[in-house]
Amino acid sequence: MLRNKLFQRTEKSSWLRPTTLALTFLVGVALAGVAATSLLEAGDSPPDRVPSNVAWTPETIAAASAGDAFRGMLLARRCDHCHGAEGFSSVGYTPNLAGMDKLALWKQLEDFRARKRLSRTMGPIAESLSSRDVADVVAYYAKLPVFQDSQDNRIFPQNPPEANHAGVASHLVSFGDGERGIPPCQACHGPVAYRPGVPSLATQNADYVLNQLESFANRSRTNDINEPMRTIAALLSEDERHALAEYYGSGLGLQPGSAK
């Protein structure tokens, strides 16, 4: 009696037919598999840490250097307050932008926009710019002369470096330190050679250079592609970072070899 009822029920309900059961089972297994693999993937590999969205392909370089300097001049008036009307800042912690390389400034602004380089001040400002605005502003600052400053706004050149610092810095800039694997600064930051997106430091503020070296060393700034500056800044001693900041801040980078 009972058996019969059960049998009838299985016959009637389409849900318990062998084909349906098999299909349900297969779908279930497939879903579980997908879920498991996605879970495993999520657990196994952390998301890629991307230092900067910029890659120096020919297209990127073309886009970064195609700005309109006149439009940039109008846009750059909102930068005057901190970076100076002629690109020389009166505040040590704010970088001088006069004559700044197009690619270097473009990359920093793009990184500020993408929150790859974090700054409470520059983050919101850069986010308010479109990619066209960025290229224009960059073109304007690249055109500003390095040697003229009619308003005498700049604090550059600053105090000459301490006697013992001058030699240390000039050696690091010209030769680096082969024993520790520190390449010479001038091989990338000029005047010997430049890489795309690397700023010239010759007219930079000492406080700014020191601040950035320290941020690289403690990894609070992480937007250098393939981490060269994070590596080098961490290899430098506290004293050497100060020496390098004083060297560049006092304008010695403009006449390499003058500090001996």
Binding site: V50, A55, G176, D177, G178, C188, E227, T231, A234
Partner: protein, 174 residues
């Protein structure tokens, strides 16, 4: 075919082979790229995607006890700057260049790896005893070439897991 014709033919072939041989330094990059065709990577966007993103560099422990070391050679640094590997375990080195041609050598050993932009150089290294090896670039790559040096630390096998916890076996800060 008489002897004279054969001799001429052989000489022609020899000379044709000699010309590229003397120009090896000019054709090595395209030639090796051709030979390693399957290992192509874009040198300009290593940091964006793929095997050589920042958090994938350094030493990785494999289930079979060997380790894989991923490095980037760039003017004028090897990244990571210091590599930690266990002694006695096979080390699978995978290295690529972000710009010029470099060559990674380990002082005191015979290992030398030519590093080309666009391809992954693969090799297996074996360090049997713990120690420290200075590595250097042996292919002139630019103004800072002579300062392009880094370090490889071989630690005893039982110490490796504890040291490996932080930053994929990098020993830069130590």
């Amino acid at each position: 075919m008489n002897w004279r014709k054969l001799r001429t033919l052989l000489l022609t072939v020899l000379i044709l082979c000699l010309i590229p041989a003397t120009r090896y330094y000019q054709i090595d990059v395209p030639l090796l790229r051709l030979l390693r065709g399957s290992h192509h990577v874009d040198p300009l966007s290593l940091h964006l995607t793929g095997e050589f993103v920042e958090n994938n560099l350094g030493t990785e422990q494999n289930p079979d006890g060997s380790v894989t070391v991923r490095m980037i050679a760039q003017q004028y640094l090897f990244i990571p700057h210091c590599i930690l590997v266990p002694a006695g375990a096979p080390v699978h080195l995978r290295i690529t260049s972000a710009d010029a041609v470099h060559s990674l050598t380990f002082n005191g050993t015979d290992y030398a790896v030519k590093v080309l932009p666009g391809t992954i150089s693969e090799t297996q290294l074996d360090f049997l005893t713990p120690g420290e090896y200075k590595t250097a670039c042996r292919e002139f790559c630019g103004a800072g070439h002579y300062a392009m040096r880094s370090e490889l630390k071989v630690v005893p096998r039982e110490q490796f897991p504890a040291l490996h916890q932080e930053e994929r076996g990098s020993c830069v800060a130590q």
